[in-house]
């Protein structure tokens, strides 16, 4: 049986290489367009269509390849288009529309001149050569000094100034395997796609003299292995937004065609499953996953190895494994993007998990609101079945495993494990008391493991690259990276994957580009309706499960919403409570009634009739709900209220003591007033007021009838003389 797996896998790899290399000549130009819900919403379908038209019209179908990939997570710049001319690095364009498509095609694709004003972010300088230094903690700590800086100086001295702008420090390429940690650094030279090991300054001198100046690859320093995020950094390493990230769970997003099993396999896909089946030792897998310190990415942060071990040890003829793709946190989209951009790695992780615990059947539980993700996963399942990677006797190993998709139907509580199980069983998604835990009695009473999408996306990497390497990336308690969905009042909204332990400041300011329009950051919300709002004083907090908990929030599944001075923290607390109250399944009283009463109080406060006593009542109810609710929804629902009460008490006090909303957000507490000094009587406000409550003759001071004003704010927007004050 063993040996056979290896053989069958090798055949798959060979076929994959044949197919992928046939699709692309050495001398063809590749145009890459994203196909994901976000990309499409931004207009990428139209861009694709335009390119197709131009390619056909140019008559160069055999020399211009149009590919589709998932998204890279650079939402605010979509649609993104990548153009790779033969032997060059990929040039990325942002916010591409029909007109831009035309310019990119005629100037760059046909004539070879990149279009500077459309480039994504500030890409590097104009030199064809690009140098990427790994600045990850693991490499950088072992090196004395800043090699990137050293290299800049050396090149300037050598009169090679033009390359200097093309030197960047990127995060981990994924080369620092356990055996090498702490001993050397790495340098990637593009477009040659060569990775060097750097042990000391002399190595750097050799590379500069031979490769940069002489154009000859230094074979003695070259690393033969393909770094596993190598493809990603080859394509995107020159963009600051990306090169500060570690791409592990997202290693293929925006890199491969998510509908091509061949491309996945050509990028070492299914290598981990093949190795695991070849080894034929489920306990080994569990040991690796435990040692990697991988914690569940769905919010709870439970150690994945421990969960698998319990299920493995449970005595039963049938066991199940489920991928939780219900992504309920409103404001989070990591799971969607992973399912759409790299469905095979999630499926491979699920299959390995099934093998490890002894399950023969797995499920994807996906939100019905994600039609493209559903389509991609179904396609991946079908392809895997056709290639003996799913179904009976996988890769000749004797292991049978199959997977089915079940759709959620818009109930947040179904993300909770026991509710999810009920939902797959075709019932109302109401939670039940635990224990028994699903690992003991889950789906149809059988031992069941439920893990999040991102958890599964990490599994193949843990098996391929080693548990110790993975553990080393994170903090002492939590291995690997975390993907965050960065949104709200932040310059670069998108997906960012960073090592556990990176600070909020690095994420929001260095990668996210900070708060737009020169506004002040007020809070970072993590954990969605179950989390909390962290004020600016926590910006230097290294992020992991424990630290966020101690700061009064939670890691959650990865939603990270940045709020600025215009956001009212009382209003935000109310926003989340409206959500939780609406989503409460109603099974237990503390949550059903508690959330309603808390919401009533918050409505009073934001409506201007709250009293200081209300704050105490809120707190008492919140604690009661936390302690006595049946499931995680009710227990966590008060968190946004408690965290804002603690960190932003002055805002609550302004509402209840002065009937004032400092952020000017709570409509009932607002007052619009025209400043007679500034009003020139242009009549614009009077004409635009939807309830016609502004009186005044042309060229005379206008006045608002407060009793009829509905506080829509239109007058402020239309007055060109800033004469309307919002108080």
């Amino acid at each position: 049986m063993a040996g056979r797996v290896k053989e069958l896998y090798r055949e798959l790899v060979e076929r994959a290489h044949t197919v992928t290399s046939a699709a692309q000549h050495e001398d063809s130009t590749v145009i890459q367009v994203g196909n994901a819900t976000c990309e499409n919403a931004a207009g990428s379908r139209e861009v694709l269509h335009e390119f197709r038209k131009y390619i056909a019209a140019s008559g160069k179908e055999d020399r211009i390849v149009l590919r589709e990939t998932g998204c890279t997570g650079r939402c605010s710049c979509e649609p993104i288009v990548g153009v790779t001319r033969p032997g060059q690095t990929m040039v990325k364009y942002q916010k591409v529309d029909a007109e831009a498509t035309h310019r990119i095609f005629t100037q760059h694709v046909l004539e070879g001149h990149p279009v500077p004003d459309l480039l994504l972010d500030a890409q590097m300088g104009t030199s064809p050569l690009k140098l990427l230094f790994c600045r990850s903690r693991r490499c950088a700590d072992s090196m004395q000094g800043d090699y990137a800086e050293m290299c800049r100086e050396k090149l300037a001295d050598a009169g090679l100034d033009y390359v200097v702008d093309d030197i960047v420090s990127a995060n981990c390429f994924g080369l620092c395997r356990s055996e090498m940690v702490g001993r050397l650094g790495h340098l990637m030279v593009l477009p040659d796609k060569v990775v060097y090991r750097l042990r000391n300054e002399a190595d750097l001198d050799t590379i500069i003299a031979q490769h940069i100046q002489g154009g000859r690859i230094v074979d003695t320093l070259r690393i033969g292995d393909e770094p596993f995020s190598g493809r990603f950094f080859e394509m995107y390493g020159d963009v600051a937004f990306f090169n500060r990230q570690d791409r592990i769970a997202l290693r293929h997003s925006g890199v491969i065609d998510p509908e091509s099993l061949q491309e996945y396999i050509a990028e070492d896909g299914y290598q981990a499953l093949a190795a695991v089946l070849e080894r034929d030792d489920p306990a080994w897998v569990i040991e690796q996953v435990s040692r990697s310190r991988l914690r569940g990415r769905g919010g709870g942060g439970y150690p994945t190895g421990t969960k698998w071990d319990m299920a493995r040890k449970a005595q039963a003829d049938t066991k199940y494994i489920i991928c939780n793709a219900d992504e309920g946190d409103p404001g989070a989209f990591m799971d969607r993007s992973m399912l759409e951009g790299d469905p095979f790695s999630v499926l491979e992780g699920l299959t390995i998990g099934g093998y490890a615990i002894g399950a023969r059947k797995g499920f994807f539980y996906i939100r019905a609101e994600y039609p493209l993700a559903i389509k991609r996963i179904q396609h991946a399942i079908d392809q895997a079945r056709l290639n003996n990677l799913l179904g009976p006797d996988i890769l000749g190993s004797g292991f049978d495993f199959d997977v089915e998709i079940r759709l959620g139907a818009g109930a947040f509580v179904c993300g909770e494990e026991t509710a999810l199980i009920h939902s797959i069983e075709g019932r109302r998604g109401e939670p039940r008391i635990r224990p028994p835990y699903p690992t003991e009695s889950g789906l149809w009473g059988k031992p069941t493991v439920i893990n999040n999408v991102e958890t599964f996306a990490n599994i193949a990497v843990v098996c391929d690259y080693g548990a110790d390497w993975f553990a080393n990336i994170g903090t002492a308690e939590s291995g690997g990276t975390k993907v965050f969905a960065l949104a709200g009042k932040v310059e670069h909204t998108g997906m960012v994957e960073v090592p556990m332990g990176m600070t909020l400041r690095e994420i929001v300011f260095e990668i996210g580009g900070g708060v737009p329009d020169g506004k002040e950051l007020k809070a970072v919300q993590t954990g969605g309706p179950a989390g909390g709002c962290l004020p600016a004083k926590w910006l230097d907090l290294p992020v992991d499960f424990r630290t966020l908990g101690e700061a009064g929030s939670i890691m959650g599944s990865g939603g990270m919403i940045v709020m600025d001075e215009d956001d009212c923290m009382v209003d935000i607390a109310k926003f989340f409570l409206v959500f939780s109250q609406d989503e409460s399944c109603g099974k237990c009283t503390p949550c059903r009634e508690g959330s309603r009463r808390m919401l009533e109080i918050l409505e009073r406060i934001t409506g201007g009739t709250g009293t200081p006593q209300d704050l105490d009542n809120l707190e008492r109810l919140a604690i009661l709900m936390q302690k006595s609710s049946l499931c995680g929804l009710g227990r966590a629902a008060p968190n946004p209220v408690l965290s804002t009460l603690r960190e932003f008490r002055d805002e609550y006090l302004a509402h209840v003591e002065e009937q004032r909303c400092p952020a000017h957000r709570c409509v009932a507490l607002l007052r619009f007033q025209i400043d007679p000094e500034k009003c020139v009587g242009c009549t614009a406000c009077a004409r635009n007021c939807p309830v016609l409550c502004i009186q005044g003759k042309a060229k005379q001071v206008h006045e608002i009838d407060q009793s009829r004003c509905i506080k829509c704010g239109r007058c402020v927007e239309v007055c060109r003389f800033s004469a309307v004050d919002r108080l």
Partner: protein, 182 residues
């Protein structure tokens, strides 16, 4: 393939035929396959998804027919259909507008978009205009938070929507509907 034996009726053939007529061949076939699975009751939600995809909503007629053909108590079927937000129990408008009220969209001003839609359409959330053209809903998160605020009109996802853009958007769909019907 046969249906499972009915629980209580003497007129199973009539009941079955009526139910099949309500749901149509494609769904009847789907239920047949589902009923042959090891846990047929667990297919209920998938069946309801199919019915909604086909008819746009779940009528009581549909729910009863599903209960009969899948041999699941009618109370269970309606209990499930009402529990999940995704299932619509009323006929949707020609254009169903859902504004995302997830956190990212909310802090980027989705509430102002909703206000403007209410003003322009003269309806509240959950209502349909009297001509049946537009319906207004709130959605949870559509997963495109990076492009907030986001709204959907039927299957189209519109990103970075502003209140000022609303009248033109509505016009576009109204025009499209006139073209479709002429």
């Amino acid at each position: 393939m046969t249906h499972p034996t009915p629980a209580v009726t003497d007129h199973w053939d009539q009941v079955r035929e009526a139910a099949e007529a309500v749901l149509g061949d494609e769904i009847v076939e789907y239920i047949r396959t589902a009923a042959a699975q090891p846990e047929p009751a667990s297919e209920l939600i998938s069946v309801l998804h199919k019915v909604q995809a086909r008819y746009g909503y779940l009528d009581t007629e549909h729910l009863d027919a599903v209960a009969q053909l899948l041999q699941v108590p009618a109370a269970t079927v309606s209990g499930v259909a009402t529990f999940y937000h995704f299932f619509r129990l009323n006929k949707p408008a020609r254009y169903s507008i859902s504004v995302c009220m997830g956190t990212a969209c909310y802090v980027k001003g989705a509430d102002k978009v909703v206000n403007r839609l209410q003003e322009e359409l003269g309806i509240d959330i959950g209502e349909t205009t009297s001509d049946g053209l537009f319906g207004l809903q709130q959605a949870r998160c559509l997963g495109t938070c990076g492009l907030a605020p986001v709204m959907m009109v039927n299957d189209d996802v519109l990103s970075r929507v502003t209140p000022e853009a609303i009248p033109a958007i509505l016009d576009r769909y109204a025009k499209q509907s006139r073209q479709d019907s002429s």
